[in-house]
C-alpha cells in the first residue's frame, strides 16, 4: 500500500498551521507514529494548488468549501473534507472608496477574483440588498495584485480576503461595505483529501487529524509557546504578529475538535452548501454538461445528501475529527 503522501497548502490565515507543523516536527512525529511519510508543500498560486490536487499530484489540499465543490468534485475527483478548520468571520470583505452601503454599489465596476469565494460573498451581499449581479460590473483581478489594484485611481471597489483585505482596508478613504461576518459559517476552510486514498489508508487521515489538532492547540495557546508559534506563522505569511492576530480574530477557528464536529454535523452546513451549489451552478462552475445544480452530489454526516446521491463527489465526513475529539488517535 501507499506509504508516502503529499499535501499542498497556500498562504491564508486558516492554513498557516500546516507549514508550522511541518517546520516544527509535528508532521514527522505523527507520520512516524503511523509508519508513513507526509510531505507538506507550499504552492504560491491558490488555484494552481487545487488544480494540482485535482490532477492527482497531491493527496490533499487546503481549500474552501465552494472551491472543493467546483474544482475537484465537479471534475470527478471524489473529495473528503477531512478537516473543517474554520469559517471566515470577517476574513473576506467588500471594500469601496465611494460606496458606504451595498446598495450604493449599483452600477459600479468591482474588482475581485472571479468565480471565487469573493464572488460568492459579493453575490450574497447584493442579494441581501435586493440587487442582482447584473447590476454591477465584475472585473476579474488576480489576488496577488488586489492591493495594487485598489490603489489605482480608476478602481472604486474590491472584494478580497485576508491578508490582502487588511492591506486594502488600511488605505485612506476605504470603507468596509460588507464582510463575511454577516454570513457566518458560509465560507468554510477545509483540508480536502482524495476519498479513495483515504479509504485505502485510514492511517493517513488519522495522522492528519493528529497533526492538525496538536498544532491548533499551540495556535490557541496564550502563553509564550503559542506566541512563538503565531509569530512564525505571521512571518511565513508575510506579516507581523499583530497583523496575524488581527486576521485570526476575523477567523472562527475550531481549535477543539469537538467544535468542528458540531459544526460539520449541524443542519446549517447543508443549507450553506445548497446556497453555494446554487451560486456555482448559476455561474456555470459545475461544468458545461451540468443540467441542474443536482448533478454533483454532496454527502454529509449521517448519510444525508444534497443532489445526485449516485454521484456523490464531495463528502463532509467528521469521522477523523470525531476520533481526535475522542482522543482515539
Amino acid at each position: 500500500p501507499k506509504k508516502s503522501f503529499d499535501i499542498a497548502w497556500t498562504i491564508y490565515v486558516g492554513w498557516m498551521p500546516w507549514p508550522y507543523a511541518a517546520d516544527s516536527g509535528i508532521v514527522k512525529k505523527w507520520a512516524d507514529k503511523y509508519g508513513i511519510d507526509i510531505k507538506v508543500t507550499q504552492i504560491n498560486d491558490y488555484v494552481e494548488s487545487i488544480n494540482q490536487y485535482t490532477a492527482g499530484k497531491f493527496d490533499g489540499v487546503t481549500l474552501t468549501n465552494m472551491d472543493a465543490l467546483t474544482i475537484p468534485a465537479a471534475g470527478g475527483v471524489d473529495t473528503t473534507a477531512l478537516i473543517v478548520g474554520d469559517f471566515s468571520n470577517g476574513n473576506d470583505g467588500v471594500v469601496s472608496k465611494t460606496a458606504k452601503t451595498v446598495a450604493e454599489l449599483k452600477g459600479q465596476s468591482i474588482n475581485l477574483v472571479e468565480l471565487s469565494v469573493s464572488h460568492y460573498l459579493l453575490a450574497r451581499a447584493l442579494d441581501g440588498a435586493g440587487l442582482a449581479e447584473k447590476d454591477v460590473k465584475v472585473v476579474n483581478t488576480s489576488d496577488a495584485d488586489m492591493v495594487a489594484a485598489f490603489k489605482a485611481p480608476d478602481t472604486t471597489t474590491v472584494v478580497t480576503w485576508n491578508p490582502l483585505l487588511a492591506e486594502v482596508k488600511a488605505e485612506p478613504g476605504a470603507n468596509a461595505v460588507f464582510d463575511s461576518s454577516k454570513i457566518p459559517g458560509e465560507i468554510i476552510d477545509l483540508l480536502g483529501v482524495n476519498t479513495e486514498t483515504l479509504k485505502d489508508n485510514p492511517d493517513f487521515g488519522k495522522a492528519l487529524a493528529g497533526i492538525w489538532y496538536e498544532t491548533l492547540a499551540l495556535v490557541a495557546d496564550p502563553g509564550a509557546k503559542g506566541k512563538e508559534a503565531r509569530e512564525a506563522m505571521a512571518k511565513q505569511s508575510g506579516t507581523d504578529l499583530a497583523g496575524f492576530e488581527a486576521q485570526l480574530a476575523a477567523t472562527k477557528l475550531f481549535a477543539k475538535p469537538a467544535d468542528a464536529v458540531a459544526f460539520a454535523t449541524s443542519p446549517d452546513i447543508m443549507k450553506t452548501m445548497d446556497l453555494v451549489r446554487t451560486f456555482s451552478f448559476d455561474h456555470g462552475l459545475l461544468g458545461d454538461g451540468a443540467k441542474s445544480k443536482d448533478v454533483v452530489g454532496i454527502g454529509f454526516a449521517g448519510d444525508k445528501t444534497l443532489g445526485d446521491a449516485a454521484n456523490v463527489k464531495l463528502r463532509f465526513d467528521p469521522t477523523f475529527m470525531q476520533m481526535a475529539a475522542d482522543g482515539r488517535l
Binding site: 485535482t54 471534475g75 476579474n140 489605482a152 458545461d288
Partner: protein
C-alpha cells in the same frame, strides 16, 4: 547511399514530412485522452477532441448566459484591440526612437544605455507600478505590451540604421540633404523592412504580455478566459483557446511577411528560399 545532407525530399515528400509530427502529436493526444477518460470518466485534463470541438462551437456561436455576447468573438475582439494598440504604439516608438538613436550620435550616447537597461527589466515584475500609474483599464494592458516590446524594437532599429554604410549618409549630404531629409529619405525607408521583421519577432512576446496582463485584471479577452477557466481545469476551453491564439499569431506573422515583401521588393532581392 548518398550522404544524409545531400538527400533533399521533393514537393510531395516535404508536405508529408511536415504533416507527420503534427499527426503524431494528435495521435498521442487522442490515445492519452482516451486512456485518462477510461480511468476517470469525468477527467478534465485531456478532453477528447470531439468535446473540445463541441465547446468551441458553443463558444463561437451561442451567446453567453451572463453577458449575452458570443464569448469567442468578444474575447478575440477585446484581445486583438489591445494587441493592435500595444504593438502599434511599440512600433511607432521603436521606429522614431530607433531611427533617432541610429542617426544622431549624441542621442545614441544619451539614450543607448538607458534603452539597454530598460530592455533588461522583466516587465512582469513592475506590473503593480503600472497599475497604479495607468489604472486597471485598457491602458495598463497596452502599456505592459509597449514596455515589453518597444525596447527590443528600438535597439534593433537603431542597429539597423547604424549599419547603413556611412558612405550613403555622406552621399546624401553631398546632395544637399539636412539631418531631417536624410532621416526621411535615407534612414527611415531602409529601416522599414527590418522594422516589419522585428515586429514579426515581437508578436510572440506581445501575446505573452497581453495574456499576462489579461490574467491579472480584465473582464474579457483571450488571456482572461484562459486564466478564468483554469480555475476549474476546463482544458476543453483552454486548449482550443491556445490553438486559436497560435493561429492568430501565425496569421499576423504571415500577413506581415507578405506585406514586407510586397512593399519593399528591393530588400528581398537576394531571397530564394
Amino acid at each position: 547511399m548518398r550522404r544524409a545532407m545531400n538527400i533533399r525530399p521533393g514537393g510531395g515528400a516535404r508536405v508529408l514530412l511536415a504533416l507527420m509530427p503534427f499527426l503524431l502529436l494528435a495521435l498521442v493526444y487522442v490515445f492519452g485522452s482516451a486512456e485518462r477518460r477510461a480511468a476517470n470518466p469525468n477527467d478534465k485534463l485531456l478532453p477528447p477532441i470531439s468535446e473540445m470541438a463541441d465547446t468551441t462551437a458553443r463558444m463561437a456561436t451561442e451567446p453567453d448566459r451572463r453577458s449575452g455576447e458570443i464569448v469567442l468573438v468578444s474575447d478575440t475582439v477585446a484581445s486583438l484591440q489591445r494587441l493592435a494598440l500595444g504593438l502599434g504604439l511599440a512600433t511607432l516608438i521603436g521606429l522614431t526612437l530607433g531611427v533617432a538613436l541610429g542617426v544622431l550620435p549624441a542621442a545614441n550616447a544619451m539614450g543607448g544605455p538607458l534603452v539597454a537597461v530598460i530592455s533588461m527589466i522583466p516587465p512582469m515584475a513592475i506590473l503593480p507600478i503600472l497599475f497604479i500609474v495607468f489604472g486597471l483599464g485598457e491602458m495598463s494592458k497596452v502599456v505592459l505590451i509597449v514596455i515589453g516590446v518597444a525596447p527590443p524594437i528600438v535597439r534593433d532599429i537603431a542597429m539597423t540604421v547604424q549599419a547603413i554604410p556611412v558612405e550613403q549618409l555622406v552621399k546624401a549630404q553631398t546632395l544637399g540633404a539636412s539631418t531631417w531629409t536624410t532621416v526621411l529619405r535615407v534612414a527611415l525607408p531602409q529601416a522599414l523592412p527590418r522594422l516589419i521583421e522585428t515586429v514579426r519577432l515581437q508578436i510572440g512576446p506581445a501575446f505573452l504580455f497581453l495574456i499576462a496582463a489579461e490574467a491579472i485584471a480584465a473582464d474579457s479577452g483571450l488571456g482572461y478566459r484562459i486564466f478564468l477557466v483554469r480555475r476549474y481545469l476546463a482544458m476543453d476551453v483552454i486548449l482550443p483557446y491556445v490553438a486559436w491564439i497560435t493561429l492568430l499569431a501565425f496569421l499576423m506573422d504571415f500577413a506581415l511577411a507578405k506585406l514586407a515583401r510586397g512593399a519593399f521588393p528591393w530588400a528581398y532581392v537576394g531571397e530564394r528560399r
